[in-house]
């Protein structure tokens, strides 16, 4: 048994190579050149999108929202600066060159001016903005939106008791991080477009269809006049807008070609001009046209709305495959050319920054994270294995191009080919944590149970960090509440108060726990706080569901959705006939809550080793001078160790949430399912919760997703999986994603044997019907070194809660959190 800690993952070796100054000699240097030019640039804010959007919205007040949005997009398409980057093969950016973020004042205009002043200094995600642009925000953009945003109307619309758990009633910009709404800081969309439609029909086809339908409307019908007509007109305007914008790129490419002296680059620019002239207006003919059409649509859609972590890319290995296959057969495309195009797209994604203006949003998405997931593998709509040559090429690209975009997601099913599993495992071993894996054997039966026909369920695409969408069937759009149940534990201890909030009676009065004689009394008091949170989360959701269509429209997204087009309804409508509404609410701090309850049950009520009064007193002083008590708590049963005692509590907690949503989401007419997916928000949520009965120190991060509490997955990765298996209520269809991070040292998967063992681990995860898993292959020493000397480790990518980020982009808090997690070192 060697000193396995000494083994470096290929990614770490690559970084070391860069650190000591050796040039990465890559056979496809193009994307590396682009990457190098942006690598260490601080992100800029580009105000053009916000400016033109606002200009148009000022002119169209009173018109149907879908039509206003389409007109605003046309105004942007006609006026926004278009760019073509050096070395790039794909045209299309939503803002200035380098790393950039854009503004969505319709979301956050009410505090945009304040935020712009603060952003450059923000710890989590700092940005730079020029004085001139800041002035445009202050003078032209922010003033218009005051009093008009979704966020403002939402805070006004929430009942007092609900608002109290959501925002500080004195300052509605300040999230409580207790029953936290997420619909207002990233708009109401978390989605996957049906990109296949763009490639097959082109926007011209969609426009012509809308024009034909306008002809057939009943001129006597009020609905046709006031709902269908504006929708179809918006379709026509939007199709024209994206076409016009694409052609402006064609024109620019031609101009640049005229000035270009290098004949190779000249040819590339002329090809780019041809492509943008043709797509996405017309159906694509080649792989290159398909890539360009997809990319322009993707970027255009980013300008349309700030979506929840960006519109995902869907099943790229499926919809691009016919083009790839044909071009390869005809000999007009090589694998190297295909990889180069992909890498041009990835590096384009990496330059876009998912800018969060609200402090809440920024805290949620540290490291500028976005998740425009690219799905590969899985099954066809007929239920056969869907893997093809392109699936392997995406994996190869991920191995050879060390970038955390795209967020690559591989669908795994029981009859996935061995080659696919093998290449997935090899790619994971490269160390950047990709691909994340999503389990068909869990997702598909759930989609069926929720009412999807087989052909849609088999054809789902990964959306965002771990959700799954059926692009022409899903119709629910709002991100939902993130519920901090660790705060419910704190409220149970302090009779409905929290140390951070002082004397405010923020939760229910459930009594002084020192007077509780039995565990059942404590459990019931906790449940009362827990159910109170659920109650307010669902009230919040009800307000959001009815409000969102008044604030948002989404022409491009709706055009690409079969049901929206059929019904002439924007996707934000509360209910669209034929759709399945799949929404989610979040259990924050699962491990923290389970471990806290297990410690109290065992130590206070069963073994009576600890008095409730001693526990509370120790928590109040954050265990200062009470290390013995903290250690007792830390050594109580823990979730994630396949411990029956803890897992039983975990399962009960899961169940009470499921029972609640089974009853009440029905009356909302939607599915609001239980999810355990924190992004990076377990850090800000931890910042409001004082010391926990599991021994967690005050204001430190909560446990992450359905992973064990940090540092407590002491029984290794099989136990983490089994605790999840044991705590799930498989008899409920109201469950959704559980995000599971497993950190491995390279040693445990070294060599061919290590690959095979990783594959069998993945297959077992598939057998256990767990939704999601991702691997973090890293050494603790690497993380410590990177924290100490960030400049030397700028390109170190780590995986956190469903995505990867540059380690050095993360706040010191989150770095510590990553370092704390137990590594599964095989010794």
């Amino acid at each position: 048994m060697a000193d396995y800690c000494a083994v470096l993952s290929p990614q770490e070796q690559r970084i070391q190579k860069e650190v000591i100054g050796k040039e990465d000699t890559h056979e496809r240097p193009r994307a590396f050149k682009i990457l190098k030019s942006i690598q260490n640039l601080k992100p800029k804010i580009d105000v053009e999108r916000a400016r033109f959007f606002t200009e148009s919205m000022k002119e169209t007040e009173g018109q149907p929202l879908m039509l206003r949005w389409a007109k605003a997009m046309k105004h942007i398409a006609e006026n926004i600066t278009v760019y073509i980057d050096d070395n790039q093969l794909l045209a299309g950016r939503a803002g200035a060159q380098g790393r950039y973020g854009i503004l969505y004042p319709e979301l956050d205009g009410d505090f945009l001016d304040l935020a712009i002043k603060e952003l450059p200094g923000r710890v989590e995600s700092p940005f730079v903005i020029s004085q001139e642009d800041a002035q445009i925000v202050f003078d032209e953009i922010a003033p218009y939106w005051k009093g008009k945003t979704f966020h403002e109307n939402l805070t006004k619309g929430l009942p007092k008791e609900t608002l109290k758990l959501t925002y500080d009633p004195a300052d509605p910009l300040k999230s409580r991080f207790i029953v936290n709404e997420t619909a207002s800081f990233r708009s109401s969309i978390q989605w996957v477009h049906d990109y296949d439609k763009v490639l097959r029909l082109g926007f011209k086809g969609m426009k012509e269809d809308a024009q034909r339908r306008i002809e057939t409307l009943d001129p006597m019908s009020p609905v046709d006049n006031m709902e269908k007509l504006p929708f179809l007109q918006a379709v026509v305007i939007t199709c024209d807008a994206i076409t016009y914008w694409a052609r402006r790129h064609a024109k620019l490419a031609k101009e640049l070609a005229g000035k270009e002296s290098d004949p190779v680059r000249k040819k590339e620019l002329l090809e780019m001009a041809d492509c943008c002239e043709r797509v996405p207006e017309n159906p694509a003919r080649t792989f290159r046209e398909a890539m360009q059409a997809q990319w322009l649509t993707q970027i255009f859609s980013r300008m349309e709305q700030k979506t929840g972590t960006i519109i995902s890319n869907g099943r790229m290995d499926q919809y691009f495959y016919p083009f790839f296959k044909k071009d390869m057969e005809e000999g007009i495309l090589t694998e190297t050319e295909a990889l180069e195009l992909m890498e041009c797209m990835w590096v384009g994604m990496a330059q876009f920054i998912d800018l969060y203006i609200s402090p809440t949003g920024g805290a949620f998405n540290e490291g500028y994270a976005h998740w425009e997931a690219v799905t590969i593998g899985g099954q066809t709509s007929e239920g056969r294995d869907a893997t093809n040559d392109l699936s392997y090429l995406f994996l190869k690209s991920k191995r050879e191009f060390p970038l955390h975009y795209p967020d690559l997601a591989a669908r795994i099913h029981t009859s996935a080919p061995m080659r696919f599993l093998h290449e997935v495992a090899e790619t994971i071993k490269e160390g950047s944590g990709f691909p994340k894996l999503i389990n068909d054997e869990e997702v598909i039966p759930l989609l069926l149970a929720k009412g999807a026909p087989f052909e849609h369920a088999y054809d789902y695409a990964v959306s965002g960090c771990s959700e799954c969408r059926m692009p022409n069937l899903d119709t629910y759009t709002s991100p939902c509440a993130y519920i901090n149940f660790a705060a419910a534990v704190e409220m149970t201890i302090y009779d409905g108060k929290m140390l951070l909030q002082g004397e405010e009676q923020i939760g229910l009065r459930t009594g002084d726990p020192v007077k509780f004689g039995t565990w059942d009394e404590f459990w019931n008091a906790y449940l009362a706080q827990h159910m109170n949170f659920l109650r307010h989360a669902f009230i919040q959701q009800h307000v959001i569901n009815n409000l969102r269509a008044k604030h948002f429209a989404w022409p491009t997204g709706s055009i690409l959705h079969d049901l929206c087009v059929k019904e002439c309804m924007d996707i934000h409508n509360p209910h669209i006939p034929g759709g399945i509404d799949l929404g989610y609410f979040e259990f924050m701090g699962y491990g923290t809550v389970v471990d806290s309850l297990a410690a109290i049950k065992k130590l206070v009520f069963e073994e009576k080793k600890l008095k409730m009064s001693e526990l509370i007193e120790a928590m109040q002083v954050n265990f200062d001078g009470r290390e013995a008590i903290r250690q007792m708590l830390a050594n109580a049963p823990k979730f994630g160790t396949n411990n029956e005692y803890a897992d039983k509590i975990a399962k009960d907690l899961d169940r009470v949430c499921l029972e609640y949503t089974r009853k009440y989401s029905k009356e909302l007419g939607i599915h609001l399912d239980l999810r355990y997916v924190p992004f990076t928000s377990h850090v800000p949520f931890g910042k409001v919760v004082s010391a926990s009965p599991c021994g967690r120190k005050a204001y430190t991060p909560l446990s992450d997703g359905s992973s064990a509490s940090q540092g407590f997955d002491s029984k290794g990765p099989t136990a983490v999986l089994l605790s999840n298996y044991n705590s799930k209520n498989y008899d409920f269809r109201e469950r959704a994603a559980r995000l599971l991070n497993i950190k491995f040292t390279p040693a445990v998967m070294a060599g061919d044997e290590g690959t095979l063992k990783l594959i069998s681990f993945i297959k077992t995860w598939c057998d256990l019907k767990l939704w999601h898993i991702q691997f973090n292959v890293i050494n603790r020493s690497t993380l410590l070194a990177a924290k100490k000397d960030p400049d030397k480790y700028r390109s170190l990518i780590v995986r956190i809660a469903g995505y990867s980020a540059y380690f050095t982009d993360l706040s010191p808090d989150l770095q510590d959190d990553l370092i704390t997690r137990t590594e599964h070192i095989a010794v």
């Binding site: 000193d3 250690q631 830390a634 050594n635 099989t718 445990v748 063992k757 057998d767 010794v827």
Partner: protein, 308 residues
């Protein structure tokens, strides 16, 4: 196998899930106490005695300023004060009542060795059976030397087989032949350590002669031709870290059927456990360079593979 045999108890000092370096697939290792050897480099010193032992990890100890719970319960007055505001245990007067273990909140004081029944052990092992099914893994009984508790080992093997869990044993080979023969008859695969062909060095470094070990190795090979033997050579500075000494071991096993071989480079990960047990680690400061380990690994691959 009768019900009674499943209630048989053994002394177990660790059960480790997700072990990927000790036999095929993903395995759970059950570490049994007791070893007839006293290897200088032993990385599991807590395994050597057959009976439970008291261990103390000063890093985990909260310190006497905040906690003296161990002292409160100790009736032998064996707990003293160290220079660093931590405790000392006077092992001469400690009567191993283990009450301080119960009292210690941070588990700084703990026991190496718990009495467990066959059923208890195999229940824990079986929890990971979904992983064995996919990886071809299972149970590895290690130690210590599992043959020191051969009845318990045998009972574990039989119970594992009843539950269709693949099981293997890691042995140093130092046992009566009939015991090894009995255990061998239940195995398809075995991990068998060979440390040195030089008897004098073997005695110096392990405290016993290699004669019985090598003899058992040959007999095992001859008696169970279907049994796959993985010969494991721990690479130890001063004992066998030269090409000649490794070559001797290779020539011993080379040519035998159904055999494979691996070299385990020296490490000092066990060092801290000596401290926990209040013992000295005689090889403190000894290191093996990565280059040397690699060159000997390469040598084994080249020379062993050539004959098998």
């Amino acid at each position: 196998m009768t019900q009674t045999d499943r209630t048989l108890r053994g002394c177990v000092f660790n059960i480790q899930n997700y072990s990927v370096h000790d036999g095929p697939g993903i395995r759970t290792i059950v570490f049994l106490k007791g070893c007839p050897l006293r290897c200088e480099w032993c990385c599991n010193p807590e395994s050597q005695l057959l009976s439970p032992e008291l261990a103390y990890n000063p890093q985990k100890c909260i310190g006497i300023e905040e906690c003296i719970r161990c002292n409160d319960v100790c009736r032998q007055f064996a707990i003293g004060q160290s220079g660093h505001k931590k405790i000392t245990i006077n092992r001469d007067i400690c009567n191993l009542c283990f009450e301080c273990v119960e009292a210690c909140p941070s588990k700084a004081i703990h026991v190496f060795g718990n009495s467990m029944s066959v059923t208890e052990v195999i229940n824990i092992v079986e929890a990971d059976s979904a992983f064995y099914a996919r990886s071809g893994g299972g149970l590895t009984i290690s130690g210590g030397e599992p043959l020191m508790q051969h009845e318990f080992t045998l009972a574990l093997l039989i119970e594992a087989r009843r539950r269709h869990i693949d099981a293997t044993v890691e042995t140093c080979g130092f046992a009566e032949w009939d015991i090894l023969e009995q255990v061998g008859s239940h195995l398809k695969f075995i991990l068998f350590d060979i440390k040195s062909m030089n008897d004098t060095k073997h005695r110096t470094f392990t405290g016993v002669s290699n004669e019985l070990i090598l003899d058992n190795f040959r007999k095992l090979r001859d008696t169970f031709p279907q049994l796959h033997i993985l010969a494991r050579i721990p690479l130890i500075p001063g004992l066998n870290d030269s090409e000649e000494e490794i070559a001797e071991i290779i020539s011993f096993i080379k040519g035998m059927k159904n055999i494979s071989c691996e070299l385990l480079p020296y490490h000092r990960i066990g060092q801290s456990k000596y401290e926990f047990l209040g013992r000295d680690y005689s090889m403190a400061g000894v290191k093996l360079s990565d280059e040397k380990a690699q060159s000997l690994k390469d040598y084994v691959i080249a020379h062993f593979a050539a004959g098998n």
